[in-house]
Subunit: 89 residues, 5 copies
């Protein structure tokens, strides 16, 4: 599970019909200090995340589980909105 | 799910028979600013994507779901054609 | 399976309901000499790991198996607390 | 799905018995311009690929599907022999 | 499937009970010229591999298949001991 920030949205009219109704959020992977790591990915929102929110996202089968859409071609999903990060290293 | 651009095609006559009928598109991964990231992959088209189109592609089991071919050895597929990208970071 | 160190926790109140009760631990990947590799990930604790402990974590379906929650959108989990590492190369 | 070139073979006498009969080909990942990318992997041949041939290979469950051996511990397989690559970017 | 060398072991007393009996081997990924690539991982031995041996290992579901433990949180396993590598590039 990864930390990210929702930074935008993607609109695709022509798409797999099992993706209809899924919100496609551009999600920037972050370090725990909230600095960007690498390039954004596109994740399906499953928790009502808005632009600018700090989120937890997952990849692979876990994403379809989160979306409750096992027949949809989803491989990343936002599964939580972060309230607090505590580091003790 | 990832942003990419279709930049070509691959033809393979000798192949797994469950790949017959699948269009193999060379897909260049892109940043949200549409700059290339790393090297192209080969993804099966499932939405009628053409050369030069901006697409969303997926990896793993999601690709077989998109292709409606769970018995085919597919591990990447194009699942949408992008109309619009909005970034607010 | 990977070596890591638990360095913190993440709290998310709004999340997938199947994540309720799962402890989200910030886990720093380590070399076998216990030096950090890349950026921390978020893994579900399944063995009672505490902050500062050296752990083994897994990714993908193995994480849901460890959590005994196949319907939960978990893609990384801590599966053991390391007592000893022996290198002979 | 990835482009590669078969550059060698691996022999392992002591192995998982479900790998018996699978040809283990050393496969060099390539760019679409056929330049090496990173390090070779070991992929099971499922299409009669020979040394020096340009191939398409897959990873994960798709590899077991290609091998028609869902009970075999295979995570990469060659699924096609490339006749032609066309790039239009 | 990847080439590696067994360079050590990890002991974890507190662990997922489905890992009991699995030998956790520290495995260094190698190039085909047997030079180290990146950092070691922890793989379950399924073929009686010893320290210093050159092995083939797999990731993901293939690892649980190799271990004949589909309910165990294993995501990497050693599946063969290498006798010979032939490169013809």
């Amino acid at each position: 599970m990864y930390l990210g920030k929702v930074i935008g949205t993607v609109v695709a009219t022509r798409k797999d019909e099992n993706l209809i109704g899924s919100k496609l959020m551009i999600t920037q992977p972050l370090t725990m200090e909230q600095k960007p790591i690498g390039d954004p990915i596109i994740a399906v929102d499953t928790v009502g995340a808005g632009i600018g929110e700090l989120v937890i996202y997952v990849k692979g089968t876990a994403a379809r589980i989160a979306a409750r859409k096992m027949d949809s071609p989803i491989d990343s999903a936002i599964v939580g909105i972060v309230d607090d990060i505590t580091i003790d290293n």
